[in-house]
Each structure stands twice: as structure tokens, then as C-alpha cells.
């Protein structure tokens, strides 16, 4: 096909589209599109303040280096604590959002907290249960084989990694605990 100024292929018939598809073209006029233009000064947002009141009890609350002050409203869920809290605080106090260590430290903090929480839960009245918490019992009655295989799903190539990611750390931790316990209980000469 030669390259010309015309758009190749057939041009859809608007009347046919209108007949076939509910609401076709209802927002053809950009004026009917709420996101056009992108910035729309003057919308009544319901705010009846110029500056929102400051939420109290913000002392010590972590914030991005890029904020000049603690925001007027902030989340109060899961305050920083422990070793993971120290790691995260370093991320917030030393690195701006533009620096990779900021985010890598936050991810490290996530993993440290996750490991600590699992260990602590073992000494609680409700220890973590990687089986029920994984939701794997949801497979019952929901066609686990037919949903996955014979349908051309490309994610089956790596889906086997998921149970490894879920159970693997528990197995690794059990091996470490076993080895430490054995080292403590059995003299090296008898191992």
C-alpha cells in the first residue's frame, strides 16, 4: 500500500456506531469531557478554608524532605517502630524522593518489619499462618486447573514462583532455627 496523506483502512460509519453502541459520541465535544482542560481553576470543591486547620499530635511524624512542613492532615495508621522504623526514618530524613536510596530503604524496611512481625506473631496468641493468610483455600470450587491451563495464559510461566515467595522464607527460617538449635544442643564433635 503506498503511503499517502489519507488514513488507510475504512472509515467507520458514525450512524452505525451510534445505533450499535449506547452513548456513542456523547462526549465527542471536549466541553463535555470533565477532564478537559486538564487544569480547571475555580471548581467549587466544598473547601471552606484557605488553609486547612492543622491536625494535632504530629510531633515526630515522619515526612518527606520535599515537604517544607508536616501536611495539615496526615495518616495515623501504623507509626514507625523498631528496627524497621529506624530504617524508614533514615529514608525520610536523609534522602529526597528523587534519590533511589530513599525508596530502596523503604523496601528494606518493609522486609525487615515483615520478618520481625512473623517472628513476634509466633509468641502471640494468634501466630501467623502462611496457609490461610495466603487465601489458598479460595481455590476450592473455583476451577483452579481449568482457570489456569489450556487457555494460553502467559503468567503460568512464572506462577510457580508465587508459592516459593510465600513459603520460602518460612522454610529458610525453619532451617536456620534448626541448625542453631542443633549447634547449641549437640557438641561439634558428635555432629
Amino acid at each position: 500500500m503506498p503511503y499517502t496523506a489519507d488514513k488507510p483502512g475504512h472509515t467507520p460509519d458514525p450512524d452505525d456506531l451510534r445505533r450499535r453502541i449506547p452513548g456513542w459520541g456523547a462526549d465527542l465535544d471536549p466541553a463535555d469531557r470533565p477532564a478537559f482542560p486538564r487544569e480547571q481553576p475555580g471548581i467549587d470543591t466544598g473547601a471552606h478554608w484557605r488553609v486547612p486547620e492543622q491536625q494535632p499530635h504530629g510531633a515526630g511524624r515522619e515526612r518527606s524532605l520535599e515537604h517544607e512542613r508536616l501536611t495539615p492532615v496526615f495518616g495515623t495508621a501504623q507509626p514507625l517502630h523498631g528496627l524497621s522504623g529506624l530504617i524508614r526514618r533514615v529514608a525520610y530524613t536523609r534522602y529526597s524522593e528523587g534519590q533511589t536510596p530513599h525508596w530502596m530503604l523503604l523496601i528494606l524496611g518493609d522486609r525487615v518489619e515483615s520478618a520481625g512481625a512473623h517472628v513476634r506473631s509466633l509468641f502471640s496468641r494468634r501466630p501467623d499462618d502462611p496457609v490461610t493468610q495466603s487465601g489458598v483455600f479460595g481455590e476450592r470450587g473455583r476451577h483452579p486447573i481449568a482457570s489456569r491451563f489450556g487457555r494460553g495464559r502467559v503468567d503460568v510461566k512464572h506462577a510457580w514462583l508465587d508459592p516459593v515467595l510465600v513459603v520460602g522464607p518460612w522454610v529458610a527460617a525453619a532451617v536456620v532455627v534448626f541448625r542453631i538449635a542443633r549447634a547449641a544442643a549437640v557438641p561439634a564433635s558428635r555432629r
Binding site: R38, T45, G75, S134, G138, E139, R142, L165, V166
Partner: protein, 381 residues
């Protein structure tokens, strides 16, 4: 109260937590009646979002009844049934004053690169979310809206994020009459975007995914042509051939951080967390759109870098438009579309799980079992 809580990657459970309290004079406490699991919740569930803390309650799509209001709340009262946009925003900062509610500067102490979102880690502010019996709703005079009597609860629920985001994404695609639009991803947002492209006057809508049942949904719900990318050798070449060699006028990325289609990219991003997100869909968008075309990015990515083909985007003269949807701006027009019978967002819902069974809901949704498209969380009989 009972609430879903995060226990580490791939692990969640239901815990008893203290009821939320009014922490700011413009807060409200909402008793959740319906919530849903968003595809982007799976990024949290899989441990991809930095600063996702143990004990965090996810959930940014919910409706409910106002239980209590703070001293400065004027627009809501206890007993009101409200739909709550996933954005937490003040309504008065530089960005909110221009309608960019998803970019509010006054609610997310932890980052300036993103606004506030319910139940979406501390990187979006550290607010517990709505997959719980009760939730704290900041700036109650700004975000929530009373659900109109003639709007079904499940339609209202889908407007709190998924459908509004898809509708917003189709607007960012800059569609003019007769345009060909490719939508990558047939999840709830992709399906909503595909359906919305017709409202904008698209001439062709092509949806790409690898889940056959979702492609079937794309044909039935969104009247779209479909391509199963697992069944073609080269998805970009296929799309080029379908568009007579030109490429699509616009491509909408409705996949985001866990995109499939290239094992190495997926594993380095979704499993090893070495990228902010798998860039496969975005790279396909860059390659499949025509020169001078527009890419609308609705897929959610993490804040780390990703291996995106910027050179191709530059050389092709592309416009890349992206944002989290400023949800409430979409509502007046979307409510008109629902009333006119143009759309019925609730048709996306396929599964319902009680809060007590939410771990199973996440697993089924994450594993794409049983034809799941959109799971809703219910709160007892």
C-alpha cells in the same frame, strides 16, 4: 472493628483493630457497606509498594454510611450514605484549586510525588483503607458525596475508582471522531476505558490481554475487537497490521506494574522489586501507537525507575499523558451517563466475598481464577 490487615507479601488476614477516631475537625467516620478490591491493591498485596507496613488496611474503593463527623464538617451528617473517591484531598491547595485532586499537596506527609489515597501504604499518606467495618475519611466536606437515590449501590461503588479511572483514561487519550484506540489490559479499568472510548467517539476499540474470559468480557461489555497476546508471535506487529501499518491513534495502558508478556521484565519488577513496575505494557504502547499519537497511562506503577523505551517515544513524537484520576471531577458526567443508560458500571462485578473471607478474595483475584473480573467485599448479612 474488623478490618483486613496486611501481614507481609501475599499474606493478609482479618483482625480486630481499634475503631478509627476523628483526628481532624473535618474528618468523618464512615461505616463501610460495600468495598472492592482494585487491581492496584494487588501491587500492595505482592509487596511492590514501598512503605507498606504490617497491619495496614487496604481498600480505596468503598461506599458507606456516615457514622460521625468532626466539628467543622458542614456538608455531611451522620446517617448520610456516601460514595468516597479514592483520592484524599484538601480542596484548597495549589493543585486542588486547579482540579488536580489526585495531586493534593496537603494530605500526604510521606511524599510529594503522589497525593493521598486510602489504604495504599504510607507512600500515599498512611491512611487505613475501606476494607474494614469503619474508616476515617479526611476532608469530609470535600471528597465524599451523598449517593443519589436513583443510583444503585454497586454503580456508586464502581465510580469511587475503577470506572472513573477508565473514563478519565479515555479522556487523556485525546480521542477525536473515528480514532482507533488500543486498550492494553482487560481488567476493570481497561474495560471501563474501552467502553468510555466510544463515548468519546472512537471509530475502533481494540483490547489486548492474555486472559480469554476477560477478552470475552471486552467484546460483550465494551463492544471491542480483541487480541490475545499469548496467541500471536508479535503483538506490536499484529496491532500495526490491524491498523494498516499506521499504528493506533491512541493507546491506553490499563495494566501497570505487574504487566505480563516478558518473563524477565515481569520477574525483575513484580517478584524481585528491581523496577518500579514491569514496563512491558508501556513499551508495547510506545511501539504500537502511531507517530504523533497519544499514550494514556492509567496503569499504576511504583516510584522506582522502570526500563521504558523513551527513545522510541521521543523519535515518534508521542504525547504521554498520565495521572491518577481526579475522581470526583468525573462524577457529574458519569452519573448522567448512567441515568441515560449509556453505561452500567456494576456489570463489571463478577464475585462477592465477605470481609471474613477476604484473604481468599485476594488470592482468587491475584490468581485470576473462576473468571474473576471485579471482586466486591460485603460486610455480613
Amino acid at each position: 472493628m474488623k478490618a483486613m490487615t496486611y501481614r507481609g507479601p501475599y499474606k493478609i488476614r482479618v483482625d480486630r483493630k481499634p475503631d478509627p477516631v476523628i483526628a481532624h475537625p473535618n474528618d468523618a467516620i464512615v461505616r463501610v457497606e460495600l468495598a472492592s478490591i482494585c487491581g492496584s491493591d494487588l501491587h500492595l498485596y505482592h509487596g511492590m509498594m514501598p512503605d507498606t507496613r504490617i497491619g495496614h488496611t487496604f481498600g480505596h474503593e468503598f461506599i458507606g454510611r456516615v457514622e460521625e463527623v468532626g466539628s467543622s464538617v458542614q456538608n455531611l451528617k451522620p446517617g448520610d450514605r456516601v460514595m468516597v473517591p479514592f483520592n484524599i484531598y484538601c480542596g484548597s491547595c495549589f493543585f486542588c484549586a486547579r482540579g488536580l485532586y489526585s495531586n493534593c499537596h496537603n494530605v500526604n506527609a510521606n511524599a510529594t510525588a503522589i497525593g493521598g489515597i486510602y489504604g495504599y501504604s504510607h507512600s500515599t499518606g498512611g491512611f487505613d483503607g475501606g476494607q474494614a467495618e469503619l474508616v476515617r475519611v479526611p476532608f469530609a466536606d470535600v471528597g465524599p458525596q451523598v449517593i443519589p437515590d436513583d443510583i444503585a449501590s454497586e454503580d456508586a461503588l464502581l465510580l469511587t475508582d475503577a470506572f472513573s479511572t477508565g473514563y478519565f483514561g479515555s479522556q487523556l487519550a485525546d480521542i477525536v471522531e473515528g480514532d482507533t484506540v488500543v486498550v492494553l489490559g482487560a481488567g476493570p479499568v481497561g474495560l471501563a476505558a474501552a467502553r468510555s472510548c466510544w463515548l468519546m467517539g472512537a471509530g475502533r476499540v481494540i483490547v489486548v490481554d492474555h486472559l480469554d474470559y476477560r477478552l470475552e468480557k471486552a467484546r460483550a461489555f465494551a463492544f471491542a475487537e480483541t487480541v490475545h497476546f499469548g496467541q500471536v508471535d508479535d503483538i506490536v506487529l499484529t496491532l500495526k497490521k490491524m491498523t494498516d501499518g499506521l499504528g493506533a491513534d491512541s493507546v491506553i495502558d490499563a495494566v501497570g506494574a505487574e504487566a505480563d508478556g516478558h518473563v524477565v521484565q515481569h520477574v525483575t519488577a513484580a517478584k524481585l522489586k528491581l523496577q518500579g513496575g514491569s514496563p512491558i505494557a508501556l513499551n508495547w504502547a510506545i511501539d504500537a501507537v502511531r507517530k504523533g499519537g497519544t499514550i494514556s497511562v492509567m496503569g499504576a506503577y511504583g516510584p522506582l525507575f522502570s526500563a521504558v523505551k523513551v527513545g522510541d517515544a521521543m523519535n515518534k513524537g508521542l504525547t504521554i499523558r498520565a495521572n491518577q484520576a481526579p475522581v470526583k471531577r468525573q462524577w457529574p458526567r458519569l452519573l448522567e451517563h448512567i441515568r441515560a443508560g449509556h453505561i452500567a458500571p456494576r456489570e463489571l462485578i463478577t464475585h462477592r466475598f465477605d470481609l471474613d473471607d477476604i484473604a481468599e478474595g485476594y488470592h482468587v483475584f491475584s490468581s485470576k481464577l473462576d473468571g474473576i473480573v471485579k471482586p466486591v467485599i460485603t460486610f455480613g448479612a
